[in-house]
Every structure is written in C-alpha cells, then in structure tokens.
Subunit: 258 residues, 2 copies
DNA sequence: CGAATCCTTGAACACCTTCAACAGGGGTGG
DNA sequence: CCACCCCTGTTGAAGGTGTTCAAGGATTCG
C-alpha cells in the first residue's frame, strides 16, 4: 500500500509496494476501489522506515495528522488512566488501520507502539479528505472499517465484563487464530508478538494469572506452549472454553466477572 | 430532527420537530450543516411513534436499515455472549446515535431497548447515502461521530480492565453527570433511567455490589441516593474516587481488576 | 558472562461474588 | 380499596476467583 520501495535501514528488500500489488489488498482500506481510484489513493500514501520494537507510531494527546495501516509486524495501542495505569486496548496485525479514534477530536486517544519491527503505510488525513470528492466510495470504506472496529470493541467489552479469566484467554487465542488464518498463516500454530504482560493487561488480568492459564491449558492438552509460540491441539475444546466455561476444567460456572 | 409532528398515542404534544428547530441540534448529526443541507437531511428522516419502556428499537442480527438518533428518553444497547449472557454496552441519551456498529456488516451487532418512553428519529441509511453527493460534509459528520464513539468505548474498556468497583461506579456517575449537563440538565442532580441491574451489568459487577456502593457513597456523604434519584454532594470527592481510588475509603490501592 | 527483563510457580490474602432473606413499590385483580 | 404478587433493590454472611507478595528459573542482550 505504499508507492515506492521503503528506504532500507538494514538489508531487507521491499518488493510489494503499491496498493495494486499489496498482498493486504483484501484486508486493508482499498477493498472495493477500482484501478484508477487505487492509483489516486496510492499517490498520497507515504512510506516510513520500519519502526523498531518499542518505538511509538504516535502518542496519546498528540495532534492527529494521519491514519496508519499496518503492512508487516504488529502494534499495540494503549491508553492511560487518570493516575497513569496503562490499558492495552488492541493488538493490530497487517492490514489493520489505527488512529481512527483520533479523527473526531483531532488528537490521538491512544498510543500506538510496535511490538516488533513493523512497517506501516501512512495516510495523511487532510489529503485523504481531498480525495473523497474524486473517490466517493472512500468515505464509505472508512465508515465500514470504523463500524467493524466498533463491533470488535463491543466484543472486547463483553469479554471484560462477563468472562472468566479462562474464557478471556481462550477467546483471545481464538481471535488471534482467526486473524492469522485470514492472513494466510496457520490458524493452529503461531508466534505471539506480545508479551505475557501485554496479554494480561489487554485481558484485564494479572500476568501471573495468564501464565498459570497457559500452563494449565498445556497440561490439559488444549495447547502446546513454548514461550511465545502457541500450538492449538484441541480447537474444539478451546472454543468451548471461550464460550461458556462449561468445558472439562474443574471450574465453577460463575457469571464471569471476577 | 423529524419533519412533522409525531403521531400521538397519548396526550403529549410534540413541538420541536424539524432538525432546524430541534433543541438537540448541537449534539446530533446536523452540526455543521447549513440551512439547505439541513432541509435535505430533514426530508429523509422518519418519525416513529414513541416506544415504550422495554420495547426494542432493533435487535441483534436483525438486518440493518436505519440509524437512529435519540430525541427524548433513553436507550440501552446490549449484546449476548455465545451462551446467552447479556452484556450492556451503552446507555444512550438524547442527541446520540445508535446502530453505527451495524453499517459494516449489514446486520445489527447489538439490541437497542428503551429504558423509558423514548422517541427517536429514524435515518434510513440507503437514503442517507444518496445524500452524500449533495451534502459532502455528511459522511465526515458520521465519521466524526463514530470516531468519538470509538474513543468512548476505549474508556469503557479501560474502566472494565483496570478499575475497582468503586472507581467504576464513580466514573459512571461522573460520565452521566457530564452528559446531562451538556444537555442543559443539572450535573449534580438527576434521575437514573436504568435499573441497578443494568448499571451492574454495564460495569461488569454484581447488582449487590452496586447497591452496596450506592449505600456507602451515601454514608460517606458523597451522594444522596433515593432509589433512582442521585444527588452529587461532593463532586471533587467523586472525581477522586473515579480516578485512582486513592480517596478517603479504607480500600487498598490494588490494580483494579477483580 | 552478568544485568535486566520476562516468565513461571507457590502461598496468603482480598475484593467481589454468590447465596439467602427481607423490605419497598407498583401494578393487577379480587 | 385492599390484598396479593412480582420485581427491584437492599443488606448480611460465606465462599471463591483472581490478586498480591515472594522467589526462583529462563531468556535476551549489552
């Protein structure tokens, strides 16, 4: 989704560069655009050198200038509570847009930080607005993406509001699994780019709880875990655990919260 | 935001009916539209008879046809977990739009139910799309509204992920207080249109916990509570409680979750 | 190779839930 | 109009899930 090769820091050779050729075409914003419209969009998209693990793409309260699409790697977004606690609000894989929550106020509502070396497409928002007249479906695409994001957030709210620790982790892994498989990766084996800490934070749990859950799910034969690698042995069981917690574990069928 | 008087079921007389005259003008979608554009928007907006407490405006998985703006009264939206538990995802006051999360998929992702007798403006989405060419700022308005909604949801995620029970209730009351005051009502005295059950559900807590918290906040002189009426005695204290839980209560400064 | 960070595991504790019983309305039908 | 019921809301006691505290192992990176 960028128009010319990325300036290289190392020895990586970028090949797929234009939206036209981008493998993320089907996942990203340009879905539904014809060739001409694609070229127009392409012309405003800016490249950046890949950012390293730990670097921020933008920070909370910073002025909003651009949307970003993840091309490779992954990001986490997080907000801060009034007293400085961090809350991870999402993990973002290739093909996904970040920064959407900043449009309304003109300032970023969260910080976006790379979980690994990550390259993104930068879409300057003012230039994109100029394109709306010439690409009428573009605003509609944005609206669709935002609408889907809102629905995603609703499931996160449900997860945090109603699910037990085990259900949360199972749901999280299933969600990742689906997203990986939609990107052509295995849905049964993958490497987590985020730390246990990030996972725990995202799921509203303590790190220790997440760690214990990984261990237990491995003992029970549902998963194979090796530090950041996760293999799903029993997908059905994982689904059951994510749904209602009525799985084989000796856990009470409480109402989720706590 | 509707164009002719509402068909009356009782003896209520509707007066403010067109977007032009609507008192919610500043809160609703039409912000930033000129008179001509307002008339155009006005022409597609449909009236409905007010819906009664408990009635649904739309249901989860139902085909998406329209957005709705609350004109008077209030709504709750909720989703269901796989195993049928209900999770309240939001309360909606006059001037707020619901149904936005349905645009992307074409089917509603939540159910919207009236908490009291409520009247809404219905905005058929296909007709609204037709207007985009003639009112170029309209899609941008929608995007702004959605962006703000996403940010709102992020604070809910933070609330559920990081805050203790007391912080949750305090945050909830402050949020309501601000929204009421923006609508010209008192920020220090208001009536809740939702049950304790809905509040508890929304905050990811048990009803009993919410009830106990109301009692305690009253004992401590922060609130005056009389069933659904809430009076805020000590706004500063409520703010402190919402922020970090480092208030006067003898509560440990744990990390919130649980 | 040593420091730092991440991850894991164990034990005690705490916040909130669950279970239980009761009080207060509001509506319905006698 | 009162009695009854149903639902909502309150309060008390016991219990549990997940946290906190603590320490040790694993991994990374200078």
């Amino acid at each position: 989704m960028a128009k010319t090769p990325i300036p290289l820091t190392g020895a990586i050779t970028q090949i797929k560069v234009a939206c036209n050729d981008c493998t993320l075409f089907q996942l990203c914003l340009p879905v539904g655009l014809d060739r001409h419209e694609l070229d127009l969009l392409d012309s405003i998209i800016q490249r950046r050198r890949p950012i390293d693990r730990g670097e921020s793409l933008f920070s909370m309260r910073e002025k909003f200038r651009s949307l970003f699409a993840v091309r490779s790697g992954s990001l986490k977004t997080y907000t801060l509570t009034e007293d400085g606690r961090e809350q991870v609000t999402g993990f973002h894989l290739p093909g996904e847009l970040v920064g959407l929550d900043a449009i309304g106020t003109g300032a970023h509502g969260c910080t976006a930080q790379a979980l690994e070396t990550t390259s993104v497409c930068e879409i300057p928002f003012d230039r994109m607005e100029e394109l709306w007249a010439r690409i009428p479906v573009l605003p509609r695409q944005i609206i669709d993406v935002m609408s889907n994001a809102m629905r995603e957030e609703n499931s996160l709210v449900t997860l945090l509001g109603k699910k037990s620790a085990e259900e949360r982790l199972a749901s999280f892994l299933l969600n990742l699994s689906e997203r990986f498989s939609r990107r052509g990766y295995s849905s049964r084996e993958f490497n987590l780019s985020m730390s246990r800490n990030d996972i725990a934070n995202y799921l509203g749990l303590a790190v220790e709880t997440v760690s214990r859950l990984f261990s237990r799910l491995q003992e029970e034969g549902v998963l194979v875990v090796d530090s950041r690698f996760v293999g799903v042995n029993d997908l059905e069981r994982l689904r059951a655990l994510a749904g209602s917690g009525a799985g084989a574990s000796g856990r009470s069928a409480n109402n989720g919260v706590v």
